[in-house]
Subunit: 394 residues, 2 copies
């Protein structure tokens, strides 16, 4: 499969638009045997070309570039204008005008696609929709492997039908933007957890799957591979790395206990994205319209101003549900650590003790009877013996 | 560990209060080498005693009984009354009076606990809170293994501190009621996906973990065990079994494409519970107060009337996010099938192809370089070869 030619280890570094994904981060991951990604979103085609050049200068290994698909201009201008009025206080507080919601347009998507066809890269992934068969064919013709982000079995079937080579299966746990093909506020509470989503996609399509969402440990990589994935994609886990371009306050917030949890919000971009709950999310999330990228442009200046002022409560602190467990270390070391953990989980796959009952190293199914298995892990008091059973069954 | 003395296979049948969990279902699971559970919630202590007697007559193997902890009477009576007025139309439609929100009280919790201390069972699990050390000690003294349902690392630490023997780690994907210790509407969007939650709990406590939420396939059992669980608990997967007491419309709805997805709702019970989205959830969910069990008693008659009328749109169709993949077969056969799938996932744990790159059967890490691995699974066109890489790196 295409991934087989790219990955020495089943570890993909998620493209993180907005500054975290830098050529240095992708290069460090590639050098360690993972697959590094550049984030093409929110950048000019020229800037993307620059990053591709920079990355090629840093590593000879395969890498990927992620693009955001243009969104239908279906957002209600009146709703965007109303949200702008709602944010007047923020503009005054940060002494920063709101951005023009209509700048940016298609994020130079077509210019970037043209660039990537003219100067091919090993892999191109897409987020926020399903590319046309023409787009995917154009990339395939120049030898590029294509991936499409999906969040439901139906999106997976659509992406396979369009001709995608690989699917990035994103669970609800994922930090940053949800890659749903169409932003439907009526589905805000329908997002599927990764472990429930994976088998449904695995059984619906016949493509290699990269699993994403809340993964920060090697044992979770082993888990998604057991559930049908060919590799795992990690974003939040790489945020604290020195090679990551994430703001120092963003890096610090991931393990700061004063940030108690993450939630999806439209407050910053107009599309659901998971981040650490802070003041801006609490105050404005409930009023943010489904209007991407209009809201993204509206709040861009506010977020920059908050970062410049060192105010994490006004920044978009994108984070997945595994944020508490992130570790600060060079990206290459992290890839190697994740692979060690993956192999450890492989060696002891069945939690802390049940492996003594199941699996190749254990008893053959059918040869033992309940109650006869040796107790394994430590446990308080009398409960550790099989006696309770007898006591209750006498 | 206690589970080691109970489980021949790491498969636990989730207690499902409200009719689905019958002694016949628990017995079939126990006979097949899993751990069957009786649901003590919503029943009189006498009814629980009857079910325990019935189950003991059906199997000599260990089993469990689940109890709901009494909730603080913190619910605002005015909010409950208002929701009652809101439901007036339903009462008229089903020609059924609303129930008395204040009947039921503590669900006879203390009477059931006294019963289970006087006549011990192998395992007792708790939902909706953390039992006191006294309760857990009383059960341990009679040889009963105790389990506490947790949904966050903090709840896990509290349960371990109280003296629980086992934790049931419930992810957001789970069908039916979320076992959060305290119902806080401010945390409605904070629920953690199972795969993100497991390592956080695994690293926070030193107890055997039973993982629950969206599990309907053996490969998912292998996955949660790789991520730190000792066993998996499945509820929705057992709903369609002939031994399950779930209403035929409930069984049918699980795979009925007209039910597009599940969501958590307070519409039926006043506490967040995940079910297939139907008319009742859509119309009343947004107005349901955090008032459990008051709302449960308020709507009990309506749900019975809807079921009697064959109207699935007025019933509580509890289901986890894996509902689409459930299979209708005898519970014992399902346990055996899940174990076969678990072993298959163990044999081929790394998705469709990456296992050729990783793991005991693969190359030793560090001995190969990216781009040299043999492509594995089938994939459209030129992308299946390593050529794209060269093309892009030339």
């Amino acid at each position: 499969m295409p991934l087989g030619s790219f990955l020495h280890h089943p570890v993909v570094q998620a493209p993180m638009a907005g500054g975290a994904s830098r050529p240095e981060l992708a290069a460090a991951v590639c050098e360690a045997g993972g697959l590094g990604f550049l984030a093409g979103g929110y950048k000019s085609a020229e800037a993307v070309q620059e990053e591709v050049r920079a990355l090629r200068a840093l590593t000879p290994h395969p890498f990927g570039v992620n693009l955001f698909l243009p969104q239908n201009p279906s957002a209600d201008p009146a709703a965007v204008a109303l949200y702008g009025e709602h944010l007047a206080g923020e503009a005054a507080w940060y002494s920063t005008p709101l951005g023009d919601p209509n700048r940016g347009g298609d994020d130079e998507f077509h210019a970037k696609l043209t660039l990537l066809v003219r100067d091919p890269v090993p892999m191109v992934s897409f987020t926020f929709g399903c590319p046309t068969r023409e787009m995917l064919d154009a990339l395939r013709e120049v030898g590029t492997v294509t991936a499409v982000t999906v969040t439901t079995p139906a999106e997976a079937v659509a992406a396979e039908a369009a001709g995608a080579d690989v699917l990035c299966v994103q669970g609800a746990e994922a930090g940053g933007h949800q890659g749903t093909h169409r932003d439907d506020p009526g589905q805000d509470r329908a997002a599927l957890g990764l472990l429930a989503l994976l088998p449904q996609v695995r059984e619906a399509v016949d493509l290699p799957l990269v699993a994403a969402g809340g993964i920060v440990r090697g044992c979770q990589i082993a888990a998604v591979m057991a559930a049908g994935a060919d590799a795992a994609q990690l974003g939040t886990a790489f945020l604290p790395c020195p090679e990551s371009g994430a703001h120092r306050l963003h890096k610090k917030a991931l393990t700061d206990p004063s940030f108690t949890h993450t939630e999806p919000t439209r407050a910053f971009s107009g599309r659901p994205a998971r981040g650490l709950v802070n003041r801006f999310m609490r105050e404005h999330g409930p009023y943010a319209p489904a209007a991407y990228p209009q809201v993204h442009h509206l709040t861009a200046g506010l977020r920059r101003a908050a970062a410049a002022a060192g105010d994490a409560q006004g920044m978009a602190l994108w984070a997945g549900q595994g944020h508490r467990l992130v570790r600060e270390m060079p990206a290459g070391d992290l890839v190697r650590l994740l692979v060690d953990e993956l192999h450890e989980a492989w060696t002891h796959p069945y939690g802390t003790g049940a492996r003594e009952q199941e699996g190749p190293s254990g008893t053959t199914p059918g040869t033992t009877t309940p109650g006869t298995t040796t107790p394994v892990t430590t446990t308080p008091g009398a409960a550790a013996t099989a006696a309770p059973t007898d006591g209750a069954l006498g």
